[in-house]
Subunit: 350 residues, 2 copies
Amino acid sequence: MSSLAVVGTGLVGASVGLAARGAGIDVVLRDASPEHARRAADLGAGRPPAPDEPPADLVVLAVPPERVAGVLRDAQRAGLGRTYTDVASVKAAVAGEALRLGCDLATYVGGHPMAGRERSGPGAARGDLFVGRPWVLTRGDAGDEHVRRVRALVTACGAVPVEAGAEEHDEAVALVSHVPQVVSSLLAGRLVDAPAAAVALAGQGLRDTTRVAGSDPALWTAILAANARPVRAVLEALRADLDRLLGALGHDDDGVRDALARGVEGRARIPGKHGGTPTTYAAVPVVLRDRPGELARVFLEAALAGVNVEDIAMEHSPGQPVGLVELLVRPEAAGRLADALAAHGWVVHR
Amino acid sequence: MSSLAVVGTGLVGASVGLAARGAGIDVVLRDASPEHARRAADLGAGRPPAPDEPPADLVVLAVPPERVAGVLRDAQRAGLGRTYTDVASVKAAVAGEALRLGCDLATYVGGHPMAGRERSGPGAARGDLFVGRPWVLTRGDAGDEHVRRVRALVTACGAVPVEAGAEEHDEAVALVSHVPQVVSSLLAGRLVDAPAAAVALAGQGLRDTTRVAGSDPALWTAILAANARPVRAVLEALRADLDRLLGALGHDDDGVRDALARGVEGRARIPGKHGGTPTTYAAVPVVLRDRPGELARVFLEAALAGVNVEDIAMEHSPGQPVGLVELLVRPEAAGRLADALAAHGWVVHR
């Protein structure tokens, strides 16, 4: 696979272009808006099509889910490429619509790179948006030759190809992506009419649970519409759990505790930083003055101590320009790091 | 207020002790477990009581909510101090139980420092746990002299005193703390029986919404039991929102979009990093190799460029030891930082 056509040069399309260019693949950019395509080209995501542009090895349809099938049909009629794929976050509905519109399903491999950003548009594109992320492929009726081409793109983007059935994919993303989005939005929605004094007490728990509530409503309305059935199934199960907890609340502490314990158990199943089993890191909390250079000095100290900081958590301190940074490190390195920081004057808590 | 007695030397009690000692206040530590008290003393949170220990100016009852009233009664009978306060995350139930047990409510000021950590116990204590955080005071029947003593402690701990009625407090924390906890736990609970392949697709949205689901079930069962009514009210409103969304899902895109838009609106009400109106930062994404020193070098560069990093977000990259760090800075500084990093060889996305 040495030539790629990207149709739709928003965040994902432009990022695919950037990644492919980085891997030495020739990329042609197309968009209903010539200005978007031009902007993506300026970013280095590819080039405009020549007047007699030959078919690309692979065509990526980076358009919203409800538009994929129509664009696929038009692209296939225009002979834009040998193999076609998309990036929509729902798969069964897209394949079903493609079938209905008479697309050639033998050359279409469903795709869904599981990566994203709060910001959208070509200006937010990044060539490494997909690095290390799962990229699901739902081959459907497509032959091996076509699947291989898409896998080559996935690998060129640094992503991890994961094959699945369309329905299996849709149920999975309903659970791990779509329902968390819905729940976050509903929780945040409760703040609209709340007293300002109440919202002023917000802590990290509220911030974490409502972070994704800032997502684009139009985009998510389309996603939820296309994946309504699997999303409904998870939401109804969640509502049943909520009903059960409401029944226990104030009456049956064991019932409440069980629900909370199940949450602990479920959370423990989420993979750790580099995939695989969740890793338990030790946290080394350091008090920082909020001024330029503090973080730099802390990390310099860590580097000098030969300790790799796996992750950090910064606690927000409303009202005072002081922050607490928790440096997450492998447990065996925690003591060494704490000693090094304390020896250089930081306030470290053990 | 120059002398403090801390009853209950867990995370919060020991942290109060550490903070007070840091402010030059004499602190006496008491705990049902002499070993806990000893450990807290070893950490510098205070000293054991003398055989003829005089009453302290202020007694902080840092025990779980369901035990506050009983401990208050015993502490008052023993004349441990002149003024009494607690740190329980529910207030009306505590005051009600105190009344029922015949406590002297004229010398009791309800308190709730809005700070916390995933870890518990004296070993996790930090003297700056409360810095910049709200600390709610529910004075009830207590006189000004007693409220002043508690406010002095709050200030010594670096916290922001906020007066409220007990019911007002309970409704507020139900909304911004207790219900987010419940929701996070229920969402995470859905993962228990999920296929491993589905959970493997977990992204930042799921991680954020289920982060607090790892909290201690026993502690939260007690909190929810003590604040059942306000929590129920919020959960029922949430369930109604969920029902409304389920009714719209797959049928009424406007209804779905409205719910999502309300989430955006609600989230925007959450205060920014240092309180006040939410701040919009610019994100400067930098690609990092996951090895010692990378973060240090990046922050050093930021410092040399005179740019204060307000916050950072590290994206997890399962499968590859490469990370993307988003440095959040004031918008006017973003270009300068990006230029400085790019000039020193980092891959920066604009």
